[in-house]
Point group: C2
């Protein structure tokens, strides 16, 4: 009942509060708050006392209380189709790097389960559930996510940006390479080696990226003056596991291609399969991938591919988002990043008499 517990004193049960710091430093609570936000508006002596109190109490500001007032979470939601996919690794790394610079934090979301992962009886999508009030911005690594779904969607003006794969929702800025041009160059590289019969294996068919690449392939066919009819196009959702399947179909084709374009995963799997069948690469068939995953450089033969600056893409995305959040810009602009053709052992001239 004594005076000393007039104001809560030192942390009773839970974590120490700002009030506790204020009491210990013999100042008002608003002065403590000020010490954090505008230290130079606090007298040096007072500041010192407050700092000491903070250290003694081991005080850490309560983030929820702050967020409740200020309406900024310091979190950025990153949605991706598979957390485990190595393709996303460097992107995530870049995002994290930028986030760290402003003490922001990454919230990880998985689109695998798609929509409808709502709790209770709010019939909102997982995305919305997760996003509204839980993060300040959204970085999409999966274009198929319906961002502007619902009456409001998550779009209360929070920055949204799509990385590496354009969003199906229009009006979402895109940061990534020019897939069409990149594929065009890759195909032309093979063409320059002498190839005339191509197979194009499209992964994640239907996605804007897949379509852009396919278009780039067609551009090249046209540019080489070849007949579209001669070129095989396979579509589907292929991973490492599809090697045997794809290989079989390609080899059975009435007119066997001398060059195959696809993804790094399919490419490497294909390499394995062709070796088993005793078909030499690039002697009989050239193979090219896409993305320049680590594995492309380590396979045998090493895989010709196109490198995307994945780390930089992640970095750029997060920086753009932060600029918008911090009011340094009011719109996120599309950013086309440079790709790089990486010719390796798996591409070479076609067998003689087969041009």
């Amino acid at each position: 009942m004594a005076k000393q517990l007039r104001k809560g004193t030192t942390a009773p049960g839970g974590a120490p509060t700002m009030q506790n710091v204020a009491d210990l430093a013999r100042v008002g609570i608003s002065t403590v708050s000020r010490a954090f936000s505008e230290p130079d508006k606090v007298a040096p002596a007072t500041l010192a006392r407050i700092e000491r109190a903070i250290a003694r109490l081991n005080y850490v500001p309560n983030e929820s209380a702050r967020t409740l007032r200020v309406k900024e979470t310091g979190r950025v939601l990153v949605m991706m189709p598979e957390v485990g996919n190595p393709f996303f690794g460097p992107i995530l790394d870049g995002i994290e790097e930028a986030a760290a610079q402003t003490n922001r934090v990454i919230l990880l979301g998985n689109t695998r389960r798609g929509i409808g992962r709502a709790g209770a009886y709010t019939s909102r999508s997982y995305l919305t559930q997760l996003a509204v009030g839980r993060a300040d911005a959204l970085i999409l690594l999966d274009g198929s996510l319906p961002v502007d779904e619902g009456p409001l969607g998550m779009t209360r003006g929070e920055p949204v940006v799509a990385v590496s794969e354009p969003s199906l929702a229009n009006s979402v800025p895109y940061i990534g390479i020019d897939n069409r041009q990149a594929t065009f160059e890759l195909a032309m590289h093979l063409g320059a080696l002498g190839h005339r019969h191509f197979a194009y294996v499209s992964c994640r068919a239907g996605s804007p990226t897949a379509m852009a690449r396919e278009a780039g392939f067609r551009d090249a066919i046209l540019a080489m003056g070849l007949s579209q009819a001669d070129q095989i196009i396979e579509r589907g959702q292929f991973g490492y596991s599809s090697g045997p399947d794809v290989a079989k179909r390609l080899l059975q084709a009435s007119r066997r291609p001398t060059a195959v374009l696809s993804s790094d995963e399919v490419g490497v799997a294909l390499l394995c399969e062709l070796r088993k069948s005793g078909i030499s690469v690039p002697g009989e068939i050239s193979v090219a991938g896409f993305d320049d995953l680590e594995v492309a450089g380590l396979s045998h033969p090493s895989l010709t591919t196109v490198a995307q600056p994945r780390y930089d893409m992640g970095l750029a995305a997060m920086l753009a988002v932060q600029d918008k959040l911090d009011g340094k810009s009011d719109r996120i602009a599309d950013q086309i990043m440079p790709h790089r053709l990486v010719p390796r052992e798996s591409s070479g001239p076609p067998p003689l008499g087969n041009s």
Copy 2:
């Protein structure tokens, strides 16, 4: 000035609030709250009205306000040394899977920058900064992080668990394989093929995992009745890039080993290097990795290795954490998960006359 705006009415500026829902549904605010937490204690008719209001207003509960009251964030912090490393992919995937089941969310932290990433003038570590009040639990994918650092560290009783790599801090439960036993088996596998001269390349030297594996290797040497002196042990931090280096040193050794044990990364890089030098694998040298990364199965020759159930490890870790959070258990127990020896093409009998 009219009566209708007696209670804030419909969302003026920001997001709709629970009060707005209450007004629209013509009930008290506590009834709305109850509708969420104990729907069966609310009259069906009332419930229906509330649901309709929620739908109409597009209401989503404010998480910060809830957290402020209830002191549960629904977030779990996952700290890892490199976000981009493919080894962590499946682990993260498992964690995410389990998290999704209870509507929890993953906060990603990077230990790369280590300690000292504090903001303002709280001299707390990044970890503590991040953890206290920002997450309900911590999953460590990097044993070297000093969890119990500081007067309190983050340890206010929040569940902590180390996955795949034991924490240097004692008292942190470990979920992962028995690295010593696994390496022992791997070495014995090579021994059974006839090998007598080994090289062991230790990665991330100094970590508990590395030490356990090295111990397992020594166990095997002993079990085979071989002299320790004959066996080469290299230590360091090796990634894919170390192939040439490691290869050179091994081949220069006074007594060239016929079998090399290391990680998948080093193993694959080594394979590349040996091929370039015209040394046949496994004809002249057998190579074994560890972890069974995707690349191990795709390299040429495919790499003998030990598989860890990474997805299951992540899943188990998150489940254990959640059980503790939800009061279903009061201690997280160590969990040794089963590993699996994966013999592939890169291991075979030593060259004749070299046993």
